[in-house]
């Protein structure tokens, strides 16, 4: 599958990246190659396998010698936490690495133009 320069440019815009003309060309090549590889995967017969959004369920199930998905309820027990507060950063610590801060806030270039 051939990725066009426009597609690369669109993805770059969405990702907030600035690409030169050469970089766009290289990205076209790389992204096309990736899609070609994924295209090969489409040939596999996987209709019977449940969709896997996450490896954790499958990994635990495999370790227990079970079908993927069979142990997920138990996983939700351990992948959630109780609603107990754990204070972490003070305001000063939170802002310590900010390029720009003031009055206890992060400062960014003005987002909305006036009028």
């Amino acid at each position: 599958m051939k990725i066009t320069a426009e597609t690369v440019q669109n993805i770059a815009n969405l990702a907030n990246l600035e690409l030169s003309a050469e970089e766009i060309g290289a990205m076209q090549q790389d992204l096309s190659a990736i899609l070609d590889y994924v295209e090969q995967l489409n040939q596999l017969q996987i209709a019977d396998l449940p969709a896997m959004e996450h490896v954790l369920g499958a990994a635990v199930a495999a370790a227990a010698g079970q079908q993927p998905g069979s142990n997920e309820a138990a996983i939700s027990e351990v992948t959630t936490r109780p609603d107990e507060p754990h204070p972490w950063f003070s305001q000063k610590e939170a802002l310590a690495n900010a390029p720009l801060s003031g009055a206890g806030h992060f400062k960014v270039p003005r987002i909305i133009d006036k009028g």
Binding site: G57, A73, T79, E84, H86, F89, Q91, A103, V108, R110
Partner: protein, 493 residues
């Protein structure tokens, strides 16, 4: 063209069209901590003081789901008659904005926690109307941007990330509403349910309840929907209705003048009472959702779901119906009394021990509510206890005091918290209902006013009121008015 003509033709045009409205409501869950980290969700803390590596989006930090947020989302879903998906998946919604430190919002996309629900609202013509609920999904809130109020606000925006990561549920309705009033009613009922469940404080000023609306219009009888506009920034019930009214009128105007409605996102400007299109750069709709690799799929087993279903309280509509059936209340009274659980509980506590629930309802909706408003108090701190309301109503029904005396007793009771029966005694208000005592007084009055008696018997019947007044004066207003009437009629002849 005069305005009258313009308005008339607009009304005529409005009759031709039917609005179609769907709402997307964000409800902030009132957990103690954020959805994916242990930071406090308390409102009003110093900016950025409730943050950690997870909600600041620092590299390597990993989210862990708050179980209580799941509990509240499931309870909300069940109360909205949704099917709980045993398996739901969190997804990343990618976009750049300074209030979103990670560059993506963790939300749910194609596998939300709940779907296919409905909420019942009162229809205009009486009866009820079911509004479909497409889905309910869990997500994290973004931070808060401030564009005004700082010396360098012309140059910089200020960002507070205390709110970033606060748990939300987004409740998406079907396009089932047909008027701004119905949308208002839907949001009212939705809020009521969330308050009954105790899953959110639904405080619109603090942003715990936020609403976007999808609106279109179509010719009445048409099957196909018109092109819709999405209106954002509807942060009060009043604004929702006003924005919808404006937007419907605008779309009808566009269509009537031969134009086409453009699909776009519009912002409601409160001061102008109008909606305006958002600039295109603010609406990149290509969010490139993909499953959140840092979170395992969420499993809500049927056992857990059933356990949570058992914790649901009686919901407002059920309560309303029950109060009408059990206590013979009108729909209006039941509606007023179920505005909050506290008020409904208060009413029931009073009505249970009363032979006259309707009178109890009237005292609560009338004098008690007025008193609380005047003194800026709530049910929790009012001195009037439910059983005292019942006692007051009983005193009237027994004929011990008149309705007018009861008002005075209520005022004293609200002030002191003393029970009405003892107040009646200490205020010397006991109503005189003893016929023998009243007859004696009437005899005295007749003897003392022979001229009036003669005139009355001669046909000057309005003088009846004079005699009533004399009896009341003699008894300091404590004579039973109905009895006085009867006795006077018999005596005066």
């Amino acid at each position: 063209m005069s305005t009258t003509i313009a308005q008339t033709s607009l009304t005529a045009a409005a009759e031709k069209y039917e609005p179609v409205i769907g709402l997307e409501v964000h409800v902030q869950l009132n957990t103690a901590t954020k959805i994916f980290c242990g930071c406090s969700t308390r409102f009003g803390a110093p900016a950025n003081s409730q943050t950690c590596p997870v909600c600041l989006g620092l590299p390597g930090a990993l989210p862990v789901l708050n179980r209580e947020a799941v509990v509240k989302a499931v309870r909300a879903s069940l109360a909205l008659n949704c099917q709980i998906n045993e398996r739901s998946v969190f997804a990343r919604k990618n976009y750049f904005y300074p209030d979103l430190p990670k560059g993506y919002q963790i939300s749910q996309y194609d596998k939300p926690i709940a779907e296919h629900g409905w909420l019942e609202v009162d229809a205009k013509n009486g009866g009820t109307h079911k509004i479909g609920i497409t889905r309910l999904h869990m997500e994290e809130d973004a931070g808060k941007n401030m564009h005004e109020g700082f010396a360098d606000s012309h140059q910089f925006s200020y960002v507070d990330l205390n709110r970033a990561g606060v748990p939300l549920v987004e409740i998406v309705s079907e396009p089932d509403m047909r008027s701004p009033e119905e949308a208002y009613e839907y949001l009212t009922r939705l809020k009521e349910i969330m308050l009954y469940l105790g899953v959110s404080d639904c405080n619109m000023e603090e942003g715990s309840l936020r609403c976007d609306a999808n609106v279109s219009v179509r010719l009445r009888g048409a099957e196909k929907f018109g092109t819709k506009a999405e209106i954002k920034n509807l942060n009060s019930f009043r604004y929702l209705q006003r924005a919808l009214e404006y937007e419907i009128e605008r779309q009808i105007g566009v269509l009537e003048s031969g134009g086409r409605v453009v699909q776009e996102t519009r912002l409601f400007n409160v001061s102008e009472g109008k909606t305006f299109p958002m600039r295109s750069k603010e609406q990149a709709h290509d969010y490139r959702y993909f499953p959140e690799p840092d979170l395992a799929p969420l499993i809500v087993s049927s056992a857990w779901r059933d356990e949570l279903a058992a914790t649901l309280p009686e919901l407002p509509r059920q309560k309303r119906n029950r109060l009408m059936n059990e206590y013979g209340l009108t729909a209006y009274d039941a509606d007023v009394l179920t505005v909050s659980q506290e008020l409904a509980d208060y009413f029931e506590a009073a009505a249970k021990g009363s032979k006259n629930p309707k009178a109890v309802a009237n005292w609560i909706m009338g004098d008690l509510t007025a008193h609380m408003k005047a003194t800026n108090t709530t049910l929790a701190d009012t001195k009037v206890r439910p059983n005292q309301i019942a006692e007051l109503a009983a005193l009237i029904d027994e004929g011990a005091i008149s309705g007018k005396m009861a008002k005075d007793v209520f005022a004293k009771m609200a002030e002191s918290g003393e029970p009405p029966r003892s107040l009646v005694a200490s205020m010397g208000l006991q109503q005189v209902s003893d016929p023998a005592a009243l007859e004696k007084i009437i005899d005295e009055i007749m003897a003392a006013n022979p001229k009036q008696l003669e005139q009355y018997r001669g046909g000057k019947t309005p003088l009846f009121a004079f005699f009533v007044g004399q009896v009341m004066k003699a008894t300091k207003g404590q004579a039973n008015p109905a009895l006085v009437n009867d006795l006077l009629k018999a005596k005066l002849g």
